[in-house]
């Protein structure tokens, strides 16, 4: 290959040997997505070939040299109905198929493992319930559904994992969720795909899918030592949440033990299911979420807790099934303020790492 530049030559050879039109299929949903994409591509190719065929054939058959005088035709209801109904039918198939896929991707299974993700200019911060924090990377075990709860601290970001065919926007002020189940070990791209300012294209990272054993090792080696729930418990005490939400009769705030997943009646009669998003809102904007029977005395915590802190609080309340430790903490505080840094021994939050669902 003397007549071609060696740089260009290598470049082309490298590309031709690695050429792919689709990223690796590394999640359970990826083959399902690709099946629909393939179906759509085939339908589109047939449609395109049909249009090209009609235009080319008519151009040859009815060019002026062969067909000097045009025959005026009004139209044909039958033909027009055909090319209305067939595309409509195909589009409806794509609609139904696509919607099934959409609901599948955005409806996490109940046994999914939970990871919290905060997007900020310009990094992804993943928080595992066991107290592992990572930046611009996400370690997950293979063959285990993983649910991500996302929020942005500033502008819109988007957590994109092409190899898993999954993507979800991280939005300021509200939680969004997405889930996936990795089926292949390895390292895959993580992109921020919503334009977020200067270093948007640097807001990328790696998704590392590990075998269960390696994952266990990783969990142990990278924990900060304080689980999210423990961090939440610390915040719960330091923000004085425990002063009112302590579960004693006559407490000024509602009892939070076991509240997660239950249905509350608010003071305006509205019924709400307590989920992550509700808890976050109730902390930041309490006056709009007054449980029936309580007075609107809780101050807002807007601006006082970071998004990571809110995740910790949510994780704490999620796992709170008795007020025993709250009462203990409150009592200890009254007796001896120094002793608040109690060791988290038999706490309900200690069984993290794997998320417990009641």
């Amino acid at each position: 290959m003397d007549h071609i530049s060696p740089v260009l030559w290598q470049f082309l050879v490298k590309w031709l040997t690695n050429f792919a039109v689709i990223p690796p299929e590394a999640s359970k949903v990826a083959p399902q997505m690709d099946a629909l994409l393939l179906f759509m591509t085939l339908v589109s190719l047939v449609g395109l070939v049909l249009v090209i065929f009609l235009v080319v054939t008519f151009s040859i058959l009815y060019r002026r040299e062969r067909h000097p005088v045009a025959t005026q035709i009004e139209g044909s209801t039958l033909l027009e109905a055909t090319w209305t109904i067939i595309p409509l039918g195909l589009f409806l198939v794509m609609f139904v198929w696509g919607s099934v896929l959409y609901f599948r991707i955005y409806t996490p299974p109940p046994n999914a493992m939970q990871v919290y993700v905060v997007g900020k200019q310009w990094m992804w911060k993943a928080e595992h319930p066991g107290g592992q924090h990572e930046i611009n990377s996400l370690h997950v075990p293979i063959n285990q559904p993983v649910q991500l709860t996302l929020i942005s601290q500033d502008v819109f970001h988007s957590f994109s994992m092409p190899a898993f065919r999954v993507k979800r926007e991280a939005i300021p002020g509200r939680y969004t969720t997405v889930w996936f189940e990795a089926t292949e070990t390895g390292t895959f791209h993580l992109f921020c795909s919503q334009y977020c300012g200067t270093a948007h294209s640097a807001m990328i990272g790696d998704i590392v899918v590990m075998s269960p054993e390696n994952y266990k090792k990783w969990l142990q080696s990278s924990t900060s030592g304080v689980s999210l729930a423990q961090d939440g418990e610390r915040l719960f005490a330091s923000l004085s949440c425990s002063a009112c939400h302590n579960g004693t009769p006559g407490a000024r705030g509602p009892n939070l033990a076991g509240v997660y997943g239950s249905t509350l009646t608010l003071s305006d009669g509205q019924k709400v299911t307590v989920d992550d998003a509700y808890l976050r809102q109730a902390i930041l904007n309490p006056s709009a979420h007054i449980t029936q029977g309580y007075s609107p005395i809780m101050p807002t915590y807007q601006g006082q807790v970071s998004e990571e802190g809110l995740f910790s609080l949510v994780e704490y309340i999620k796992n709170l099934d008795s007020n025993y430790r709250i009462k203990q903490t409150t009592t200890t505080t009254e007796l001896a303020p120094v002793a608040t840094a109690a060791t988290p021994a038999a706490s309900p939050a200690a069984n993290n790492g794997k998320v417990s669902h009641e």
């Binding site: 994409l37 409509l88 794509m94 819109f156 948007h200 601006g303």
Partner: protein
Amino acid sequence: MSSIVSLPDQSTARIPKRNYLTNENGILSWLLTGDHKRIAILYLISITFFFFIGGALAGLIRLELLTPQSDLMAADTYNKVFSMHGIVMIFLFLVPSVPATLGNFLIPIMVGAKDLAFPKINLLSWYLYMIGGCLTLWAMITGGVDTGWTFTTPLSTHYVNTNVVTTGLAIFIAGFASIFTGLNFIVTIHRMRAPGMTWFKLPLFVWSNYAASILMVLGTPVLAIALVLVVLERTIGIGVFDPTKGGDPLLFQHLFWFYSHPAVYIMILPGMGVISEVISTFSRKRVFGYSAVAFSSVAIAVFGFFVWEHHMFIMGVSNYSTLVFSLLTMLVAVPSAIKIFNWAFTLYKGSITFETPMLYAFGFMGLFTIGGLTGVFLGSSGTDIHLTETYFIVAHFHFVMVGGMLMAFLAGIHFWWPKLTGRMYPEKISQLAAVVTFIGFNFTFFPQFLLGMLGMPRRYAAYPPEFQVLNVFSTAGATILGVGYLLPILYLIWSLKYGKVAGNNPWQATGLEWQIQSPPLTENFIEIPVVTQDAYDYEWLERQKEREVTQVG
């Protein structure tokens, strides 16, 4: 009984001494004109200017993406360049492209009127457009804006310190230009049709511009509201989009896309009108299923208002609302499919020639089919999750907007150039330009579909090296495309002086605009015509010609 002016055949034609170009002289006669044709020319010159600015920015984007690192420019500069490219191309080129130039010029003539309903508002529209355009340029020169053309909050309101307010106001002002154009078209089409010109005798170009006008008049104010709220949020912090003040950033998305989705139909519908005219004329045959094509324009306009949320499928909207918007998106795809097949069957048993406008129209059909079908990939909510925010989106809307609309615009400019200027463009080189554009376009944007499938996000100044080869293809294609766009500007200017004299009706087309002199008189018609023939009535045209021959003989 026909009151249509008939002048000699092309071979002996001269440029008529009295026409709208020679009627008055001096720069003021242009700047203060109420003549819809002169305003159309003013618009044509201005949008061409902005097209080349937007095109130069596109060139910079492609050059930067030649290598994976951000080496030609810093990330911030790249962000400004693609933002300005989008803003200039969408608001200052695509939205006004066909309606404000060809529509302005032709709609009054096509309906048999002497001008638009409100000539002064028409002139005001051009001034507003120019103020908006100059402000945008000012914002660009004094530091630019890096929000993307979508002005996504809270990035635009709280996190960038570029000229968001200036640009927002510029688009706010330019938006009124669009509203006035739409308003003028609607009133003109309703109230000023010549005697006998019923709705179903109107050329399809008028129908599609009518549909686009409805979108402009009803949609643009919502964009104006969204932009004003962004400006207010940025300057005095009213907090409608700020979650810490109880606002909702998704509200901005709803408001913005409520305009900006219909806006793509504002951009494409008039182009579809051009294609109907061109395909009919060069097949010497009436458009197959006139009413289906006419009503599909209206259907696109109506459905087009109810699909905006498909831009937000991954933004945490309710899964059930996604069902509704995905279904409606599928429905809006159908009228476009109808149009494509109707155009294809217009060729059936026609008598086809392949002049430049026809080549561009064929290009449009191919590229728009690809653009439309890939839109279905994105309208289906499941596949949207994988493809949205990647280069697949970029490729999709460039196939529709550039492959579709720009091809249609160039088809229209070549088709009506003889009417606009009285002279022909050079045929051979312009056919070459059409082919070069088509090849360059595919080279540029087809690789981007693959990049999107592979997951490369849009608006990236730097990207993982594995995406480089496809990006190199794309940049190489853009070079070819650039040549394809430079050629017309050169030979069209050349033709102003050296082009063959066109005569009234060089294409033997049936529209009223072809029955008057080229360039037309300021008042278009000496007498208002009485219309008895259908649109695309080639038999009527034959009879007209025979009568002329007998009268002259």
